[in-house]
């Protein structure tokens, strides 16, 4: 049988080896034994066991050393220490070194069988976890390509043809028909934007932006971000006000992604604002930390929801339904800002508004 678990037992006492063999007989195991640590390690490499039982007290190379070597060879091999009563302390030490469990001599067959079964179970779980992690990683990496090609391309083709149709039909359709075409275009654009956000979250290793850090001055970035959000604010009749304190020191960052984070957060503030209200973007520096605060006078967030807002796929529950929200903006912003060693916090009161605070360390070269 292919999936028989492989067990290696290393002990200098033949009687122990024999009884272990006897106990495990009839179980679904493939058992090998060695009487010496050095030979045992060789067998580990050849036999590739799932689980190794090691006696701590052996002549020649010590059990602890054998353990260490096994773990450097393959950390997923489960090791169990066999020990006499006198060496419980060293068993504890062995556990600290990564042994999964220990069994004191003498032991009953049931005790031994149980500990082996648990050890094998552990090994299975470890291998499964590794396989799953690898699979997840592959999914994440491939997702970008799949999403991009399989979802974006058809939408792109649709939109491309809409462009043409709108131009070709413009003379022959009435206002209402034209409006419907325009709405279709808006919806397709929203979908494309959503796909783009997914791509950002799932495929882009935001840590990589750190490689391109340069000293940046904050105020122009705030101006840039507000320019991006302005059309949206004008449409909603929301005024964006900036309050920038005394000259700020530069900080280390990546301009494009930092502006993206600001756009997301300021855009969010506008999105959840009441018409006719203000969004205030302020920045000040204290003790080497720049504090950027984005406050709105909008729907606010309840106490229960507040801790969730920076999580993946969160979107506001309170107040009106926000049409083009897909709950990824703040996640992306959080990741970008964390890459900048900044911390994000939020204060909010329902119906009064929300205040998002970014604490950003200034460039390390500055006083």
């Amino acid at each position: 049988m292919e999936n028989k678990a492989k067990i290696l037992i290393i002990d200098d006492e033949e009687v122990v080896l024999d009884s272990c063999m006897l106990i495990l007989e009839g179980g679904n195991y493939d058992v090998a034994t060695e009487m010496d640590g050095t030979v045992g390690l060789k067998t580990v490499a050849e036999f590739q066991p799932d689980l190794v039982c090691v006696d701590l007290k052996m002549p020649g190379i010590s059990g602890l050393e054998v353990l260490e070597k096994i773990h450097s060879l393959d950390p997923t091999i489960v090791t169990i220490v066999i020990t006499g009563y006198a060496t419980v302390t060293s068993a504890v030490e062995a556990m600290k070194k990564g042994a999964y469990d220990f069994i004191p001599k003498p032991f009953t067959p049931d005790e031994f069988r149980l500990i082996i079964r648990r050890g094998i179970e552990r090994r299975k779980l470890m291998l499964e976890t590794i396989a799953l992690r690898r699979e997840k990683e592959m999914l994440r990496e491939n997702f970008a390509a799949i999403v991009s090609h399989e979802l974006k391309s058809p939408l792109g083709a649709v939109k491309q043809n809409m462009f043409v149709l709108m131009a070709e039909l413009s003379a022959n359709i009435n206002e209402s028909q034209k409006n419907r075409l325009d709405r279709m275009m808006v919806r397709i654009d929203d979908l494309l934007k959503l796909i783009h956000s997914w791509l950002r979250v799932l495929s882009v290793d935001i840590e990589k932006v750190k490689e391109n850090f340069t000293p940046l001055s904050l105020p122009p970035l705030i101006v840039k971000a507000i320019e991006c959000v302005d059309p949206q604010a004008t449409r909603k009749n929301v005024e964006i006000v900036t309050q920038i304190g005394a000259p700020l020191n530069p900080f280390d960052g990546d301009e494009v992604s930092f502006v993206e984070a600001l756009v997301n957060i300021i855009g969010n503030a506008v999105k959840y604002s009441y018409a006719g209200s203000q969004v205030i973007v302020s920045a000040s520096e204290k003790d080497g930390v720049i504090e950027i605060a984005i406050s709105d006078q909008g729907v606010g967030i309840s106490k229960e929801e507040l801790p969730l807002i920076f999580g993946d796929f969160y979107r506001g529950q309170s107040g009106e339904r926000i049409e083009d929200s897909h709950g990824l903006g703040l996640t992306i912003s959080r990741r970008i800002l964390e890459a900048h060693n900044a911390t994000l916090s939020a204060e909010s009161e329902p119906e009064k508004g929300t205040r998002i605070i970014i604490s950003l360390p200034i460039s390390s070269n500055q006083g």
């Binding site: 970008a144 090609h149 974006k152 083709a157 462009f163 131009a167 070709e168 882009v204």
Partner: protein, 140 residues
């Protein structure tokens, strides 16, 4: 000397091609289409085009890039203006680690993102054609 310009589109998505081609047709360009890289290369090598509109993600991956690379090595095709039309701008960084988001595949290219607005497409095409014309004038 205002003869009709001949353009080639290489893209494996017939619907998208239709959306591009009708814009170019309406602007009085003569447009050929190849729906896979192999036919595309073949057409490039046997016919005389004034410009190539090239998709990147075709077939099993970024096969458009292979075309661009082959063109770079070809003395005649090297001069041909290439407009890359792609939906994968943000993924360029993965294909070319360490290179800017807007990599130059061949010396004479431009890159636009799918989908592309009709007027924007026409502007790009005529600008590239003019630039190629100007280069030719200098060389001659």
């Amino acid at each position: 000397m205002n003869q009709q310009k001949k353009l080639l589109i290489i893209d494996d998505d017939p619907d998208f091609v239709e959306g591009i081609k009708s814009i170019l047709d309406a602007a009085n360009y003569s447009v050929d289409v190849a729906y896979n890289p192999k036919d595309g290369l073949n057409a490039l090598q046997t016919m005389n085009y004034d410009m190539l509109l090239l998709d990147i993600m075709m077939g099993r991956g970024a096969e458009g890039i292979m075309i661009a690379r082959k063109m770079r090595k070809d003395a005649k095709l090297r001069e041909l203006p290439v407009l890359i039309i792609t939906g994968i701008r943000e993924q360029m960084a993965f294909l070319f680690p360490g290179e800017p988001v807007h990599p130059r595949f061949v010396e004479v290219d431009e890159l636009v993102e799918k989908p592309v607005e009709p007027q924007f497409l026409l502007d790009k095409v005529s600008a590239l054609l003019q630039a190629a014309e100007a280069r030719k004038g200098k060389a001659g």
